[in-house]
């Protein structure tokens, strides 16, 4: 498909200016004018409409097809939440309004959404309080680690390490490093859990925090959590819960009860809002009581008369982490989703997410080698090791699935599983959809035995075939030039 720049035709326009009926302003002084042409294409309205409509037809989304991208949780976002965020009372409120004198009383509804969402998340997770400000999960992680640093500093403790298991999300060590900590990585034992002996060896009174994802990226619930948390607390370290996979635990277990002090939630994964990477996202951070004073400003507080206000006067706060109050529309969607499903509905969502993943695991483990042969939580991980013997790699399986109309599962992650295929069906998919997907996966396993080149040559039905990923990475060419 041609780029919009390549459709340029000199002199073509999609609009016409009205003749000015006021005196013309003086032109800008020369030093403020750009030296070169902007190179924006000249096109008619129809050119533009056709271009973007055709482009959108090449788009792959969860609204068009099954999207079992493990660890990313690409679940369907119900459309009723779009209607709610478009309500004028929310959509047209100026974000400065609650900061103006008397303005807070004109924005009570919006403040209530922030206040109540925080309360609901605290109830679901067993944490004491939440900040709704972080703009996506990774931003939440950084905020959480900054809270941990503020806590230790306040206690006069110098701590320089953060412990993460090697099955953690890549963002965990990255967040710790950006906040100024050195990262200690603990390997996974043969059962798929963080190696406790190695953890004991590495834990000391210079460790600021232990970051765990639970269930982890292998889709496994770590039964040693309580022991890990007790040991960390004994050493004066705090426990950080990466809430990426909270969707598996809703109503079943609460990070606060498991001994975690700080956590973030990726709103899109558990509460059906847009994905942080595609945005706008939401990554609220919850804390236990001892960290509440350090939360970012402003906080939404309830006054004695029951009205809500913004509180900026918190001298221990780490300060601002985002403009205004976070992605308000995303928070509102999560709030609406929680109220719509209710307690029973949220618990059912977690149960079906886990059931769907186990259904895929049980249906496919005869054909693909499971990374760990035990029940999984919200996602299941296979290795294409059996298929590799015939020259069919995880990448080939992914390409073949594209031909069949599926977004591939995550491949080559987690890094500790060779030729990993990580499938996360989510609770939003029906048994029929899963059965069709499983049938295609079984067909791939059969082809890998009987006719491997069928798989290794895929995709053949897509607008472009195999792209040269190596060349793209070695010689990135990201900008159109005339």
């Amino acid at each position: 498909m041609k780029l919009i720049f390549e459709r340029h035709k000199s002199g073509r326009r999609g609009f016409s200016y009205a003749l000015p009926d006021v005196p013309q302003a003086k032109p800008l002084a020369k030093q403020y004018c750009r030296k070169n042409d902007t190179l924006l294409p000249s096109l008619s309205e129809l050119d533009v409409v056709r271009h973007y409509t055709n482009l959108s037809r090449l788009n792959f989304s969860v609204d068009t097809n099954f999207y079992p991208l493990g660890s990313c949780t690409m679940k369907y976002n119900p459309k009723f939440t779009e209607r709610i965020v478009a309500f004028e009372g929310f959509a047209q409120v100026h974000p400065l309004l609650p900061q103006l004198s008397g303005g807070g009383m004109l924005a009570q509804g919006s403040l209530e959404v922030l206040y109540e969402t925080e309360k609901l998340l605290a109830e679901i997770t067993g944490m004491n309080a939440f900040t709704m400000q972080p703009l996506a999960g990774a931003h939440g992680e950084l905020t959480g680690i900054m809270l941990i640093a503020a806590y230790h500093k306040d206690n006069g403790a110098r701590r320089k390490y953060v412990i993460v298991p090697d099955s953690s999300h890549g963002t965990n060590p990255a967040s710790a490093a950006i906040a100024g900590y050195k990262v200690i990585v603990i390997p996974t034992d043969k059962d798929g859990y963080m190696d406790l002996e190695e953890y004991k060896k590495k834990l000391n009174n210079e460790v600021a925090a232990v970051m765990l994802t639970c269930p982890d990226t292998l889709g496994i619930f770590n039964p040693n959590i309580k022991r890990i948390a007790d040991m960390a607390h004994e050493a004066g370290a705090l426990m950080y819960y990466d809430g990426a996979n909270l969707n598996a635990l809703l109503g079943k277990a609460r990070p606060g009860d498991l001994g975690f002090d700080v956590m973030h939630i990726n709103l899109h994964k558990t509460f059906a809002t847009p994905h942080g990477g595609g945005g706008p996202g939401g990554g609220p951070v919850g804390v236990s009581e001892k960290l509440v004073d350090f939360l970012p400003i402003p906080r939404v507080v309830k006054r004695v008369d029951g009205t809500l206000a913004l509180d900026y006067h918190r001298h221990k706060s780490i300060g601002y982490v985002a403009p205004f109050y976070g992605n308000f529309g995303v928070i509102l969607k999560a709030y609406a989703y929680m109220l719509y499903l209710g307690k029973a509905g949220l618990i059912q969502a977690a149960e079906i997410a886990v059931l769907n993943a186990n259904y895929c695991l049980a249906s496919l483990k005869e054909y693909f080698a499971p990374a760990f042969d035990k029940k999984c939580m919200h996602e299941c991980v296979f290795s294409a090791s059996r298929q590799v013997k015939n020259g069919v790699h995880a990448l080939d399986i992914a390409k073949y699935l594209i031909d069949k109309g599926y977004h591939p599962p995550t491949i080559y992650f987690p890094l500790i599983v060779k030729e990993a295929l990580m499938i996360e069906p989510t609770e939003t998919e029906s048994k029929e959809t899963l059965d069709e997907f499983i049938a295609v996966m079984i067909e791939i396993a059969r082809l890998a035995e009987e006719n491997p080149s069928c798989v290794t040559q895929a995709p053949i039905h897509t607008p472009v075939k195999r792209l040269d990923e190596t060349k793209a990475a070695r010689e990135p060419n990201l900008r159109w030039q005339p």
Partner: protein, 129 residues
């Protein structure tokens, strides 16, 4: 799988070739094979002091970015700029043209913590079963 006899190996798939008081360092054939086409490498600077088993470089492939750990303690004497310009050299020639750097050894005795070719081969075979 190419595992030369005269080298020392780590369980994280780095190799070291001792020459007098110095050592050449790189990643093994197994490492480059598992990573796939390498697209980027970030090496230490000459003069950097490294500690055994601690982070010293990053390699990025189409599949993943991985940390590289130093097989020995000591100071980096010189860095091989070739793979920075042409990362494919690490895939094509992991033990020769694709070496990472040359370091001065603080203590040759640290080799007791490394594997020889035979033990590394059985270690790698254990991984891929």
């Amino acid at each position: 799988m190419n595992i030369p006899q005269n080298l020392f190996y780590t369980k994280d798939h780095e190799w070291a070739r001792i020459e007098g008081k110095t050592a050449y360092v790189g990643i093994t054939d197994y490492a480059q094979e598992s990573l796939g086409d390498i697209t980027f490498v970030q090496l230490p600077k000459a003069g950097d002091t490294l500690r055994q088993s601690e982070f010293c470089a990053t390699v990025e492939s189409v599949k993943a970015a991985s940390d590289v750990y130093s097989p020995f303690s000591g100071k980096v004497l010189s860095v091989n700029q070739e793979p920075c310009e042409h990362p494919e050299l690490i895939n094509e020639s992991p033990y020769e043209k694709g070496y990472f750097f040359i370091m001065e050894l603080s203590s040759e005795a640290e080799k007791a913590k490394l594997m020889d070719a035979q033990s590394y081969r059985s270690y790698v075979e254990g991984l891929s079963k």
